[in-house]
């Protein structure tokens, strides 16, 4: 019990005094996961669009596979990417293993199924009636696709935020691809794992609190997007109908 109380006290000390090591680890975590999320989104939005708007054989099977990959264990992705990036692997010559860039790549592989799958759901959520309307208004196929993606923007944005949550909270890829090198590839989750093992509970609790705070920010952002934002937006756009 004593350990926990001193740990918590120590944690608040570390956070309130803006401990440089804690800050560095938190910043690196956010940088890696944010980069992975944005790059994954850049791939997933067009890819999801392609899968949604094109008819082809095995489309349903592909969707099932994508959904299965939502819950792929992070260590399995870590293993796969490790094998690809290791010196003897096919992409070894890039020298990405144990670098932040390698971790970004690993996290991208982890979350692309989530963003792609949720982009497909988001686009399917746009009423068929909307797509008929756009075509009847004289849209070319490209114009109507752009408009449907815009119409699904809130759902797509929440998919991206959800993916960021998965990226920043995972340990497997960060540990196996990053290697938890202090000052270089050490992120919140791997640091917590290591410090706890070494009995440095204060440091772990501090990082844990930061991780939870980030989760809180994500949840608040999601809620704003799915409900609050539309009301706020409405105010900006001239107020609700009287």
């Amino acid at each position: 019990m004593d350990e926990i109380i001193t740990g918590i006290t120590q944690a608040f000390n570390l956070i309130l005094t803006l401990n440089p090591e804690v800050l560095h680890i938190a910043a690196l975590s956010v940088y890696i996961s944010l980069a992975a999320t944005l790059l994954a989104a850049c791939i997933s939005i067009p890819l999801g669009g392609l899968i949604h708007f094109r008819e082809f054989r095995g489309k349903r099977a592909l969707k099932v596979i994508i959904q299965t990959l939502y819950s792929v264990p992070t260590v399995v992705v870590g293993l796969l990417v490790y094998l690809l990036l290791s010196r003897s692997g096919p992409f070894g010559f890039f020298g990405l293993l144990f670098t932040p860039e390698g971790m970004i790549l690993g996290q991208m592989v982890l979350i692309i199924p989530i963003t792609t799958g949720l982009v497909i759901s988001a686009l399917s959520g746009v009423d068929q009636n909307i797509s008929d309307t756009l075509i009847s208004l004289g849209a070319t196929e490209f114009q109507s696709i752009v408009q449907i993606v815009k119409e699904a923007r809130l759902a797509i944005l929440s998919a991206v935020i959800l993916a960021f949550g998965r990226a920043i909270s995972e340990v497997g890829v960060a540990m196996m691809i990053g290697g938890n090198i202090s000052g270089q590839t050490r992120v919140l989750t791997t640091a917590i794992a290591l410090q706890t093992g070494m009995g440095d509970f204060g440091f772990s609790i501090a990082l844990g609190i930061i991780l939870l705070a980030i989760a809180l920010v994500i949840v608040v952002a999601m809620n704003l997007i799915t409900s609050g934002l539309s009301a706020e937006h409405q105010q900006v756009m001239g107020g609700p109908r009287s």
């Binding site: 009423d127 009636n129 909307i130 756009l134």
Partner: protein, 361 residues
Amino acid sequence: MIRITGLSRQIGERKILDGIDLEIRRGEIFTLIGPSGSGKTTLLRLIDLLDRPTAGKISFDGQDTAGTEQERLAIRRRMGMVFQKPGVLNVTVAENVAFGLKFRGTDRTQIAQRVTSALKLVGLLGFEEHRAVTLSGGEMQRVAIARAMVTEPEVLLLDEPTANLDPVSSEIIEDLLIRINKDLRTTIILATHDMVQGQRLAHRMGVIMDGRLAQVGTLHDIFYQPKGKEVARFVGIDTVLKGVVQSNERGLATVALDNACFEVVTPCPPGKRVGLYIRPEEVTISIPESGARKTSARNQLVGTITKLVSLGPFIRVTVDCGTPITALITTRSCGELGLAIGMTVVAGVKASAIHVHADPA
């Protein structure tokens, strides 16, 4: 304007439309009426070139529409369509209305002007910056009409535009359509299952039943001279009877049914089998005791009331006079006459109010 020949659409084994021949004239309001699922929507989608027919042709202003997607897009851009659900996008009203122009590459200043005049047309000036999805159903449908009209289409297609709306909102939209047709000379094709609406708006009507065009004609043709029993039933003729002409004196004929006899106006010779269609509002109900009154109605049939169905201000009375005859009378006169099931009454019909259809199916 639009000429449709032998048009069919089949999905799998199911024939949704079967051999439609129809011509839409420039500047008219043409309503397609028919029960739900009869193929109205399918036909409108084919006319708007959203789907391709299984067989048959549609030509638009003399031009065949079976060409490449590029050619079809060019023709589609000369039409506007409003769907049953308004299909507004989650942006402002002005942005919603501007879509058609944006797709056509119109410049910004012109878009602003034309959006304003389209909103003025539908009575939604001042709503530009509102988010379209927060509007009421009727307002959303008016946004959809403004959006279709902003490109000044030659033809406006509407698929049950008031099906989900209250009567007041529906009337606003009906008035708007009449105005669009009159002032802008836009050809309008409207699909509806609402007989009253079809009647109110149309110059000409087409009745569609089970994927076939059962009858095309003016309101009078369809309401008073329906072709066939299904059309008659759909346009509100409750009494459909069959009989044989017994005699014919210069057009005034006597038609015998199994248990009754009617005098009708028809050129059909004796021995001819005919169908008799009687609109319920053409039938009068009176009490036999007060029967000393003289009347010009040639047919006075005594019978007993078997059914009373209240329709608010009106009551539908079914009288069994050897054959059932349905009358539509006001609730007030029903009360004054004290009508009740089992009562003996006289159903009166003028000979000229009975539509005679030779060769009944």
